[in-house]
Symmetry: C2
Subunit: 173 residues, 2 copies
């Protein structure tokens, strides 16, 4: 088992002054590290009978897609406002300055479907909680949240209670 943390590149002051950005692209680019990351995410939800992976635009698509392929589930995509062509429902969530809006197709899942919400990073949990609300509006049953990276000091997982939160790599912030 390789230490996947060595494939995460820390970049100071991105996207702005004072923020340390954890760049996952070296991990994606390494075939063994990428495979190991997906396998670890899959292992954490083993036995849960997941029917859909829910991937959040854009980096969430990367992990949700490979997990859906590996575990033979469906893949549902959550997109920024105006990108989905069919009837949608949406949820807004707070950013540091202003709001953003996420959408999902109204017929993306059927009621009672067992879903896992997937993204690359759990920070404050604002996006993940908004996506959870969208899924609940569609009648989905949230089995858990799966992330590659969790920034533990931001306590995002508290916002996602009572659902299980699985993350492969932890950084303080």
């Amino acid at each position: 088992m390789e230490d996947l943390k060595k494939y995460i590149r820390d970049i100071p002051n991105f996207p702005r002054e004072g923020i340390m950005f954890h760049d996952i692209t070296p991990l994606l680019q390494n075939p063994k590290a990428f495979r190991q990351a997906i396998d670890a995410m899959a292992q954490m939800m083993k036995g849960r009978e997941v029917e859909y992976m829910i991937g959040v635009e854009a980096r969430g698509f990367i992990f949700a897609s490979a997990l859906a392929y590996k575990l033979e589930t469906g893949l549902v995509i959550i997109r920024k406002l105006g990108k989905l062509p069919y009837e949608t429902i949406n949820a807004s969530y707070d950013l540091e300055y202003g709001k953003d809006i996420l959408e999902v197709h109204r017929d993306a899942i059927s009621g009672g479907s067992r879903v896992v919400l997937v993204d690359d990073l759990l920070a404050t949990g604002g996006t993940a909680a908004a996506v959870g609300n969208l899924v609940k509006k569609l009648g989905g049953e949230i089995i858990g949240y799966s992330f590659l990276v969790e920034l533990t000091e931001l306590k995002g997982r508290e916002k996602l209670k009572p659902y299980p939160v699985w993350s492969v790599l932890e950084f303080p912030v």
Copy 2:
């Protein structure tokens, strides 16, 4: 072998009047159809010794990621301007109105790497050609282009010569 075309939903007048949008979300949502689509894309590049799948933001990530996982290659992501945190090179390409800019990390691949460029849709080929130019600037060797859907009457594959173009589903426009 299922007919994957039945999982593509045609939506008229999206994103604007006169355009027929081929919505792939029903295909993604169906586990068997999604798996079959990825397997078909993989089959078409069989034996080519690909080292990296290059995925274009955002829907391209879906197919490049699952292919990278399945074929045990690295995954390189091409993003819209300003999203990548490290040193980048970029390429602009023409849209119907104005331009858009795509970026890739300068160290994403090493010279001589064998890569396949992956996206959901081949239309006029403008985006794919721009991504090809980025990859060539990095010193990558383009093995081919892989798409789920090709709009054959738009003749995008002519813009991608002399490289092989593989597509799973063809529609006229």
